[in-house]
């Protein structure tokens, strides 16, 4: 009896310690970023591009990285959604339940899900060489789209699989066309879709490896798809190593912005999925 109590005590302690570790890691990271990044965050940081030369220039902010990241994530979202949404709808509602094609597709994006982002970067790079494009906004968009597509498809597919298989039949037997049926189903899939988007934006916006070769880096804001684009993660990567304190501050500011963005994304993902649960069957 006593041995059992001791065992219980030991494992309980372990569980409490693990919980404390996780919480402290989160707060330590957020704390560091706020401590180093927040003082550097001012209006200039958010509204100006770096000045005075790459790696050493002391003036300006990280607007180039903010805008670059935004462009890349929006572009890749468009590509990602255009491919994932039809795919998930096809494998869940058009193909029969036990279709080998659906199994193959799911297997494919499960594998792709596990591929490290640097591999997407390398693949994107090879693709760019093949197509004759240099490191550019377009290259970054393609690489990030490749990276986020499996995430999008997977989280979207999870929700789609939960949807009642009776629902399409119920709609069709009311005389709905396939298009009308799809409209209702998409509405039902909304929480899954929103979560999928937020998750993939979170993953895509923070990834450095995929854009390292493909998007390049620049102090300017790209004005066309063919120009290189800066990104927040690379803005940290390239500027943190500078001996100049002002440049380092830009890196910390980028980290703070990135963390804030991801924090907001996670919180809104929770909010949206609870909001759309209302009419869930």
């Amino acid at each position: 009896m006593k041995a059992k109590k001791t065992e219980e005590l030991i494992f309980k302690t372990f569980m409490i310690i693990s919980s404390i570790i996780i919480i402290s890691i989160l707060f330590y990271i957020i704390g560091t970023i706020i401590y180093k990044g927040l003082p550097a965050l001012d209006i200039d940081m958010l509204t100006k591009i770096p000045g005075g030369g790459f790696f050493l220039g002391k003036e300006g902010g990280v607007l180039n990285a903010i805008v670059g990241s935004l462009y890349i994530i929006l572009g890749s979202l468009v590509i990602g959604l255009a491919i994932s949404v039809p795919l998930v709808i096809y494998i869940n509602f058009y193909l029969p339940k036990k279709s080998w094609l659906a199994t193959l597709v799911r297997f494919s994006f499960d594998i792709l899900f596990g591929v490290p982002s640097i591999v997407y970067g390398a693949f994107g790079f090879a693709l760019m060489i093949f197509l004759g494009i240099r490191a550019s906004l377009l290259g970054g968009i393609i690489a990030i789209a490749l990276l986020i597509m499996p995430i999008m498809m997977r989280s979207f597919d999870e929700v789609a699989k939960l949807l009642s298989r009776d629902l399409p039949d119920a709609l069709l037997s009311l005389g709905a066309t396939r298009y009308e049926m799809a409209k209702v189903i998409i509405k039902q899939l909304m929480p899954g879709l929103v979560t999928a988007i937020l998750l993939s934006v979170g993953r895509g916006i923070g990834d450095a490896a995929a854009v390292l070769f493909t998007a390049g880096y620049t102090d300017n804001i790209p004005t066309s798809l063919g120009q290189p684009a800066a990104t927040l993660p690379l803005s940290i990567f390239f500027q943190l190593g500078s001996p100049v304190e002002e440049v380092q501050n830009r890196a910390y500011a980028s980290a703070a912005i990135l963390t804030l963005v991801i924090l907001i994304l996670s919180l809104s993902a929770r909010y949206f999925s609870s909001k759309y649960q209302k009419n869930k069957i």
Partner: protein
């Protein structure tokens, strides 16, 4: 809460349909199935089905599991179209038109056949929108007409008083029996001419079952109703005609009383005595 305007509380089907948004021509409804064969991949599911289904009565299709009852029902609203593995030959003549003919619009066929499925499957929208969905996709636009249609059909299935305060909320909190009546109201709101029930009460408790059965009896004044059922007692209670199927064939069909009291086929007698089920 929204304002529903002036709503009459009584609602017989005649009254509801007299202000129908579809204004259809009254005609007698018949279904004639001729030499129907259904294959799913290599399996011969329905074999040479020939059957006439009379108007304004309840026809129950009975038989052991896997005998093809549900498959037969699905041929009537062409739901097999959704499964590419299914092959169908023969004719199903509904109101003098072969629904498997060349120029047939599937949507029109499905609109003609109100289906009540085994498990209620409310659409992911409010109670009100569930009933309004059918009329809306079939072109009813005026808000007032939609309100009227929804309320009348909810009244018709006896759900209005139970849900009147919360028609804008999700149907998930309704009981299964209430959900099934909601699905019936939804099906009726597309103003079908036939009602198909695929073991429509098998998921329900006895009281809800009774309510649905009473509705079917009320509905047969206007519609021809075809029900697939598992329970012989249900067929005995509500059917006017009974069709007994076994292994994809129709073994015996006839008036309920005759069928139960004086079955002609040996298989029917065995099935009715409970030798197999």
């Amino acid at each position: 809460m929204m304002n529903f305007g002036v709503v009459r509380t009584s609602s017989t089907l005649e009254e509801i349909q007299s202000n129908s948004y579809l204004r259809k021509v009254e005609s007698s409804h018949t279904i004639n199935i001729k030499n129907l064969n259904v294959f799913i991949e290599e399996h011969h599911i329905l074999k040479d089905i020939n059957l006439s289904i009379p108007d304004k009565s309840i026809t129950c299709i009975i038989g052991p599991s896997g005998c093809g009852k549900s498959t037969l029902l699905k041929t009537l609203n062409r739901m097999h179209d959704e499964t590419p593995e299914v092959r169908i030959s023969g004719e199903v003549i509904v109101d003098e038109e072969n629904i498997y003919g060349v120029n047939v619009n599937v949507i029109d066929i499905r609109k003609k056949m109100g289906l009540l499925a085994q498990r209620p499957c409310p659409l992911p929208m409010s109670i009100f929108d569930n009933v309004a969905y059918g009329p809306r996709i079939h072109g009813l636009k005026r808000r007032k007409a939609i309100n009227q249609t929804v309320i009348q059909y909810l009244q018709y299935v006896g759900l209005w008083d139970e849900v009147r305060g919360r028609v804008r909320s999700s149907p998930t909190r309704l009981s299964i029996g209430q959900q099934q009546r909601l699905c019936l109201a939804r099906g009726l709101a597309i103003e079908p001419e036939y009602i198909l029930g695929d073991e429509a009460t098998s998921a329900l408790d006895p009281i809800s079952t009774k309510k649905i059965e009473e509705l079917f009896i009320k509905l047969k004044e206007k519609y021809s109703i075809i029900l697939v059922t598992h329970t012989l007692r249900q067929a005995r209670r509500i059917a006017d005609w009974v069709v007994f199927m076994y292994m994809g064939e129709i073994i015996e069909a006839g008036k309920t009383e005759e069928f139960f009291n004086n079955p002609k086929n040996k298989l029917t007698r065995e099935y009715l005595s409970g030798s197999f089920s």
